[in-house]
C-alpha cells in the first residue's frame, strides 16, 4: 500500500512535469511578424481600469489603451478593427505575453526595473502616481492615516510593494481585479484602495459614495510592452507613439479621456 501511493505520487509528478514541460517553449518570432502573418493584432487590454481600459454596458471595450490598440491595427492593416482585444489583469498580463497568448500589452503597465528584465518596454506614454480611494465619509487624508487599517491593492500591481514600504503598519488585502477592490471598500472589507491616480480619480467620479484622497505618490511612467528582445516590434511601437504625439492624435486622446480629471494628474 505504501509503495503504491509513493509510486502514484512519483508518476503524478512525472506526468505533470512532462505535460507542462511540453509547453515550455517560448516563441522566438517577433510579435510584429506574427501579427502580420495572422492579419490581426492580438492586444492585451484592461477591462476594469477606466479610462484606460473598460467595458461599456453593451460589452464594448473602450478607453485610452483600447483606442491605441485600434490605431496600431489601422497603422498595420489599414483597418482599425483588425485587432483582437484580450482582457488582462495586472497579475496575468506579463504571463499572457510570455506565453504567446497576446502579441502586445497595452494595459497601463508601469515601467519598473523588475519588469524590464522580462519584457521590452516602449517609450513612456503616461505618468501615474498613486492615490487612495476611500468611502465618502472617511476622514483619511492619505497613506499616513492607514496604520492598523486594511488597505486593498491589486495582486501584481506596484502599489502592493509601495504600500508595504510606505505604510508597513497597514494590513494589505490583495484582489485580482479592480472591481473587487472597489467592492471591498464599498462593503467595508477595506478602509482604502490604493492604485494609480488616474483610475482612482475616475472611479471616484463614477461612484458618488467614494472619494479620492492623498497626494499622488511615486509617479512612474506607463509603457507598452512586447516580448523581451523583440526589438523589431518595440521600434515600430515607438515610431507609432512618436507619430501620434506629433500629429496631435495623442493630445486628442488625452482630451477625450482625461479632460475632467487632468488638473489632478502628473503631466508627462
Amino acid at each position: 500500500m505504501r509503495l503504491r501511493s509513493g509510486g502514484v505520487l512519483g508518476l503524478g509528478i512525472a506526468t505533470l512535469v512532462v505535460a507542462l514541460g511540453a509547453a515550455g517553449w517560448a516563441e522566438a518570432q517577433s510579435g510584429l511578424e506574427a501579427a502580420k502573418k495572422r492579419g490581426r493584432l492580438v492586444a492585451g487590454v484592461k477591462t476594469d481600469f477606466p479610462p484606460f481600459g473598460y467595458v461599456d454596458s453593451g460589452g464594448k471595450n473602450l478607453g485610452f489603451d483600447v483606442d491605441v490598440a485600434h490605431l496600431f491595427a489601422r497603422a498595420l492593416f489599414n483597418d482599425e478593427n483588425a485587432v483582437e482585444l484580450v482582457a488582462v489583469t495586472s497579475g496575468n498580463r506579463i504571463p499572457f505575453l510570455q506565453s504567446g497568448k497576446i502579441d502586445i500589452i497595452i494595459a497601463t503597465v508601469t515601467v519598473t526595473d523588475e519588469r524590464k528584465q522580462v519584457v521590452e518596454f516602449s517609450d513612456p506614454y503616461f505618468l501615474s502616481g498613486s492615490l487612495l480611494l476611500v468611502p465618502k465619509a472617511s476622514t483619511a487624508k492619505g497613506l499616513e492615516d492607514m496604520a492598523g487599517k486594511t488597505v486593498a491593492v491589486i495582486q501584481g500591481a506596484i502599489q502592493d510593494k509601495d504600500v508595504e514600504q510606505l505604510q508597513p503598519k497597514a494590513n494589505r488585502i490583495k484582489f485580482g481585479k479592480v472591481s473587487e477592490a472597489v467592492l471591498a471598500v464599498k462593503t467595508g472589507r477595506a478602509e482604502a484602495y490604493v492604485h494609480d491616480d488616474i483610475v482612482v480619480l475616475t472611479l471616484a467620479k463614477e461612484n458618488p459614495d467614494l472619494k479620492a484622497v492623498g497626494k499622488p505618490f511615486i509617479p512612474r511612467p506607463y509603457g507598452i510592452a512586447v516580448r523581451k528582445g523583440d526589438m523589431e516590434f518595440i521600434t515600430w511601437v515607438n515610431a507609432e507613439l512618436a507619430r501620434m504625439k506629433k500629429d496631435g492624435t495623442y493630445d486628442r486622446l488625452w482630451k477625450k479621456y482625461f479632460a475632467d480629471v487632468e488638473a489632478n494628474l502628473v503631466k508627462p
Binding site: V17, A23, Q29, G91, I94, Q155, G156, K174
Partner: protein, 223 residues
C-alpha cells in the same frame, strides 16, 4: 517556427517554497475546518430529509438544489461581498469557509441520503420490533451501515473540497493558490511556481486519500 529552449529555474522554486508552504498551511486549515463542518451539516440535512411530514424534506431539497446548482465562486462572492451589504459581515476566513461548507454539504447531504435509503426498509422495522427507540435504531443500526455505503463517495467529495479551497484566493485569503499568484505575478516564473503549487496540491490530496482509506478500512473491520 523556431523556438528557444526553456530553462527551468529551480532557484525560483526554492525561493518561493517557504511562502508556498505557508499558503499550504492555510489550505490545510480551511480545508479541514470545512470538511468537519460540511460533514456535520450534511449529516444533519440528510437526517432531516428522512423526517416525517413534507416541510423539512422539502426545505432540505431546496437547500441542496440551490447550493449544488450555483457556482462555488458566486457563493463565495455572495458570502464575502453580498452579506455585509445586508448587515452580516463574517471575517474573510469565515466567509470562505462557510461558502465551502454550504457548497460541499449540499453534495454530502445527497450522498448520505442515498446511503440511508440504501439500507433496506425491512431492517428498520425489524430493529424497532426489538424494542429500540427510533433514535437508537438510527444510531446503532441504520446510520453505521449508511455511512459505510456512503464513505467512498464522501471521500471523493472531500478531495474536491480541498481543491475547491483554491477559489477562496479571490477574496484575499493567503492560501496556496493565492501565494502561487502572488509569487508568479512578481517573478514571472509562472511555470515553476504553479508547477510547485500543483505538486503541493497532489501531496496534500494524496495524504487526504490515504487518511480516508484508513478510515474506510476501520469501518469495514467494525462490520
Amino acid at each position: 517556427m523556431t523556438g528557444t529552449a526553456y530553462s527551468f529555474a529551480w532557484a525560483a522554486v526554492w525561493q518561493g517554497l517557504p511562502y508556498l508552504l505557508e499558503g499550504a498551511g492555510l489550505t490545510i486549515l480551511i480545508s479541514l475546518a470545512s470538511m468537519a463542518l460540511a460533514l456535520a451539516v450534511g449529516t444533519l440535512m440528510a437526517a432531516l430529509s428522512q423526517a416525517p411530514g413534507r416541510v423539512l424534506p422539502r426545505l432540505v431539497r431546496a437547500y441542496v438544489e440551490v447550493f449544488r446548482n450555483t457556482p462555488l465562486l458566486i457563493q463565495i462572492f455572495i458570502v464575502y461581498f453580498g452579506l455585509p451589504q445586508i448587515g452580516l459581515k463574517l471575517s474573510p476566513f469565515s466567509s470562505g469557509m462557510w461558502a465551502l461548507v454550504l457548497y460541499t454539504a449540499a453534495y454530502n447531504t445527497e450522498i448520505l441520503r442515498a446511503g440511508l435509503e440504501a439500507v433496506p426498509k425491512g431492517q428498520h422495522e425489524a430493529v424497532r420490533s426489538t424494542g429500540l427507540t427510533e433514535f437508537q435504531a438510527m444510531r446503532y443500526v441504520i446510520v453505521p451501515q449508511a455511512l459505510r455505503i456512503s464513505l467512498p463517495a464522501l471521500g471523493n467529495n472531500l478531495v474536491s473540497l480541498m481543491k475547491n479551497s483554491s477559489l477562496v484566493s479571490v477574496i484575499g485569503m493567503v492560501e496556496l493558490m493565492f501565494v502561487a499568484n502572488d509569487i508568479s505575478f512578481n517573478n514571472f516564473r509562472s511555470f515553476e511556481i504553479y508547477g510547485a503549487a500543483a505538486v503541493l496540491y497532489v501531496a496534500l490530496v494524496l495524504l487526504l486519500t490515504r487518511a480516508l482509506h484508513v478510515t474506510e478500512r476501520r469501518l469495514a473491520l467494525a462490520r
